[in-house]
């Protein structure tokens, strides 16, 4: 058993937790972040990559609009390398009420969200695939963000201030004594070791899992209502700006160019369990129809992958009016002292990735208040590594890098132009990582071939460089392929079918992956949030039989 003692334990390694642990560390507290899987593996890694301008909320939620606009400007500066300042359009599509654009412009002016109406001709010139029937277009400062880089940037910044980041550490128990938190128990899933962290304060940043965490401390049930949303990545950038429908926020009204793909999203369906998120066929069709409204011919484009994420919506009737001090409509800080008679724990819910830094500021302010200390938040002022130069990400970056090292570097993932050195560096930094851990940092297997060509190369290199043995190689390759498949199955139509057939011939035919010797029982697959579809379940059953 490993023992630690810190001022503050942050539970949850999504954007909120990473932002919180950074803020806590920058204010001079000793702190540890614990996450049961990899950073950004939950909600943060399952969104559509939009850095809101605030435009989406100027009519429906003015306070969120203002917060988004302010945070957009801050993040684009302090995390430049994770953010592409694409700009965005709100467009009135055929059948949409053009008068909504007037409400939009008035709302933008009132909330401080930069917005400017442009001519339809200008919008169509800049985005030639847009529906030529649009009647109005408003330009906003939407951007796109790589959630994993955002989270790792915050985590690395926190480390710089002395924080410890423990991924693959599942919280098993929260000790309390005399109405206050005293320790957090975890299991180190990679080593199978118990870890006890003595602490006086827990910041619960579990997002959709926050209710389960609060329950471990004996708090009254926190009513988390995970809202499931599905997204689909299309093979290339059909637009180079974020394109939103200029309507009251609805399903499938945003198309976001992130890295090399464009992502259509999203739906919103209440679910019971954030660990079991289905990708329903009718929702896939709904997204493709929605894409067709924005981009005629959308359905003929190649879909690469679908996924579902759970929004961390918290509904809490027990929150007293006094507690709303640190709340906005989009986010909520739950004070367990008044609510449950439990000191030393705060839970945060709601919010959105764009405002993750502000959420952290709110909850850490609340903690300082409870501790009776004045320690100012400095997170908005300081750049995070590695984006110190302040240069925003652009989609041409990797192509430019490969142009420079083309005589010396092998390319391992051809779709996403990942070099051998990028892979070996990441393997060295995360020696126990799964290929999905590497994928989130490198985009390994996220392009059109969905791992068909790169996954066996990556496996070979990991083995050859001694990072894994043959048993683990088998287990990791199978796990990676299985996880890719879960996102492929729901969108198997058109061009992606041919790719998947070829990949299947390679893996099932040439490499006969299904009949490799079974992995050593001691090699446990990492916990992976399941995206169960009925068909995936059937497929797994088939593999077992």
């Amino acid at each position: 058993m490993r023992k630690l003692a810190v001022d503050v334990v942050v539970i949850g390694g999504g954007s909120t937790g990473a932002g919180v642990v950074r803020d806590v560390a920058m204010r001079g507290y000793s702190t540890v972040l614990v996450e049961r899987a990899d950073l950004g593996q939950g909600t943060t890694g399952r969104f559509h990559g939009l850095l809101h301008s605030g435009g989406r909320y100027v009519v429906s939620d003015p306070l969120s609009a203002t917060e988004c606009a302010q945070e957009n400007a801050i993040l684009s500066r302090i995390q430049a390398g994770a953010i592409e300042t694409t700009g965005g359009y709100f467009v009135c599509c055929p059948g949409d009420d053009p008068a909504f654009a007037d409400k939009f412009l008035a709302g933008a002016a009132a909330t401080g969200v930069p917005a400017r109406e442009v001519s339809v001709g200008e919008a169509l010139r800049n985005e030639p695939r847009l529906n030529p029937g649009i009647t109005r277009a408003i330009e906003v400062q939407d951007g796109t963000v790589d959630g994993w880089q955002l989270v790792w940037g915050a985590a690395n910044s926190a480390r710089h201030y002395g924080a410890e980041i423990l991924t693959y550490h599942a919280v098993t128990k929260i000790d309390t004594a005399d109405g206050a938190v005293t320790a957090v128990h975890c299991t180190d899933l990679k080593r199978g070791e118990d870890v006890v962290i003595e602490t006086g304060f827990v910041l619960n940043c579990g997002g959709p899992w926050a209710g389960q965490i609060a329950a471990m401390a004996g708090a009254h049930p926190v009513d988390v209502v995970p809202g499931r949303g599905i997204m689909i990545a299309m093979n290339h950038r059909l637009v180079n700006r974020v394109v939103n429908r200029c309507i009251y926020p609805a399903d499938g009204d945003i198309l976001v160019p992130v890295h090399t793909v464009s992502i259509i999203g999203t739906t919103d369906v209440k679910v019971d369990d954030p660990d079991h998120l289905a990708i329903e066929p009718d929702e896939v069709q709904q997204m493709l129809d929605a894409g067709e409204v924005l981009i005629p011919g959308f359905r003929n484009s190649r879909a690469l992958h679908a996924w579902a994420g759970a929004r961390p919506l918290i509904k809490d009737n027990r929150v007293a009016a006094a507690d709303t001090r640190h709340m906005s409509r989009g986010m909520a800080v739950i004070d367990h002292t008044e609510r449950d008679g439990l000191d030393g724990m705060l839970t945060i819910g709601g919010g959105k990735l764009t405002t993750y830094r502000l959420m952290a500021e709110h909850i850490v302010d609340a903690m300082c208040d409870k501790l009776g200390e004045k320690r100012a938040c400095r997170t908005a002022e300081e750049d995070m590594p590695p984006s110190g130069a302040g240069k925003n990400y652009v989609v041409t970056h990797r192509l430019e890098e490969r142009e420079h090292d083309r005589f010396t570097e092998q390319i391992i993932c051809e779709c996403e132009l990942m070099s051998r050195k990028m892979l070996t560096d990441a393997l060295a930094a995360q020696p126990n990582g799964s290929f999905d851990d590497l994928r989130r940092q490198l985009r390994l297997g996220m392009g059109p071939c969905q791992g068909g060509f790169c996954s066996m190369r990556a496996t070979g290199i990991a083995l050859e460089t001694g990072h894994i043995d043959i048993e683990r190689a088998t287990a990791l390759l199978r796990l990676f392929l299985k996880n890719r498949w879960l996102g492929l199955w729901p969108i198997l139509y058109g061009d992606q079918v041919r790719q998947t057939a070829l990949d299947n011939w390679i893996f099932a035919g040439t490499l006969d992956v299904e009949h490799l010797p079974p992995p050593d029982p001691s090699v446990r697959p990492e916990p992976e949030i399941e995206k169960k579809t009925p068909v995936a379940a059937v497929m797994e059953a088939g593999v077992r039989s």
């Binding site: 010139r125 030639p128 695939r129 093979n235 290339h236 950038r237 180079n240 090399t260 005629p296 011919g297 003929n300 484009s301 190649r302 652009v394 989609v395 041409t396 990797r398 192509l399 430019e400 490969r402 142009e403 083309r406 005589f407 390319i411 051809e414 779709c415 132009l417 392009g447 059109p448 071939c449 068909g452 060509f453 058109g494 061009d495 041919r498 790719q499 070829l502």
Partner: protein, 420 residues
């Protein structure tokens, strides 16, 4: 995506906007990474400077957004082999040509503007043909030229002629025979008008021998050299002007050309690479036939006289890339095999290396020579005196590099019909 681009790309800006946005960009969705294009690319086979068609095509295109960061794509010769061999229908070469046009838009080398002026070269050289031939064969002059405009000193140059094809056509005695088969329009192209005059003459004489009336309207350049050098604005203007020229002879007439690469420009390249979507181009593009394609069509219909004189010899034949790109197979091979006692050996080589103007350029000359070397060896070994090939610059490349006289296949047909 949208099948028809109804926005005519009549300016460079429109042409460049087209680049990366429409048909070809959509076709990258069909790439399954099989790498067949890479295995067949003649350029990446001989130099590491070129990163290969799959890399600069469907892969790199996903990373492009107006800004050009991968300058090595200029080592693509635009031979089109990748598109031809792709089993999935990806327009690899077209993607690359578009990306290059975008890349060169703001810093077009003077040399690339010069070598695309094919009509101008003809007009300047014809009146002083002996001098031009001497000068272009003179080492010190070519060395100066290499230093000044970066055209390699050993690269093949168009052979200047004293009389243009148009001048011959206008001044020759009218054919004695009365046309019995109808009327054709002949498109000679810049090279066929100024440099490969003999090929144009022989084509017209064969067509007339078969009983056709041949019309030769005044005609300009198809713009292919401009297109392959990324000058989409000029190329678009040229090709549409040419369509007007060719349409002036009459509607519904079949158009014949012995310039295989110019035919390809009209059939598909102007539309697929530059996004020119214009009824005039669609009209001309569907009416034009390569000469040997036309003769094979006649033969297939049982309408080609095969009273060929025996030609007891063995000749190598090389099918040019831009002919193969038209999806018509190798019609010359089949037609030539009708000549008794003539043995035609298919080179079965991918490319001669020249790719229009690619192999002229100082920085690419050695690559082009390396690409063509197996072909040059094959040609020399097969017949040291004569080789056959359908397109002009390829013939000049083969002749210059192998020392073997290289002519259009129509020369054999012309001779076998006893026409001179």
């Amino acid at each position: 995506m949208t099948e028809v681009n109804d926005r005519p790309a009549t300016t460079a800006k429109a042409g460049l906007e087209f680049a990366g946005h429409e048909l070809s960009r959509a076709s990258l969705d069909s790439c399954v990474k099989c790498t067949i294009c890479e295995t067949q690319c003649p350029v990446s086979a001989v130099t590491p400077l070129f990163t290969g068609p799959k890399f600069i095509g469907p892969q790199a295109e996903r990373f492009r957004n107006g800004e050009s960061v991968d300058h090595s794509l200029d080592y693509c010769s635009s031979c089109g082999t990748c598109t031809l061999v792709c089993p999935q229908g990806v327009q690899v070469a077209e993607l690359n040509s578009q990306a290059r046009a975008v890349m060169k838009a703001d810093h077009m080398p003077i040399r690339d503007r010069l070598v695309s002026q094919t009509t101008l070269m003809g007009k300047l050289m014809t009146p002083v043909a002996p001098l031009a031939r001497w000068a272009l064969g003179n080492k010190p002059i070519r060395t100066l030229m290499e230093a000044a405009v970066k055209v390699h000193r050993d690269a093949p140059m168009p052979p200047a002629q004293s009389q243009t094809f148009q001048s011959w056509f206008a001044s020759r005695p009218r054919p004695a025979t009365v046309p019995t088969r109808g009327t054709l329009v002949f498109f000679h192209g810049c090279a066929g008008g100024y440099f490969e005059v003999e090929t144009s003459k022989k084509t017209v004489e064969v067509l007339e021998h078969l009983g056709y009336e041949v019309l030769v309207p005044r005609q300009g350049c198809c713009g292919l050299a401009q297109q392959s050098n990324g000058l989409f604005d000029e190329a678009t203007a040229s090709v549409l002007k040419l369509c007007d020229d060719l349409r002036s002879s009459g509607k519904d007439l079949t158009i014949i050309s012995s310039s295989g690469s110019c035919t390809g420009m009209l059939k598909h390249e102007a539309h697929e690479i530059m996004g020119v979507s214009d009824d005039r181009l669609a009209d001309v593009g569907t009416r034009i036939r390569d000469t040997m394609e036309f003769l094979l069509d006649l033969h297939d219909a049982g309408e080609l006289p095969t009273d060929f004189a025996p030609m007891p010899m063995t000749v190598p034949y090389h099918a040019p890339c831009q002919l193969k790109s038209q999806g018509i197979g190798k019609p010359a091979l089949e037609v030539l095999r009708l000549i008794p006692e003539l043995t035609v050996v298919d080179s079965e080589k991918v490319c001669c290396g020249i790719a229009g103007t690619y192999g002229l350029k100082k920085e690419k000359y050695e690559i082009a020579q390396a690409v063509g070397r197996p072909l040059f060896e094959m040609v020399k070994a097969t017949n040291p005196d004569l080789a056959l090939c359908d397109t002009e610059t390829c013939r000049w490349q083969i002749e210059q590099s192998s020392g073997v006289k290289t002519v259009h296949p129509i020369w054999m047909i012309h001779a076998a019909y006893g026409l001179g």
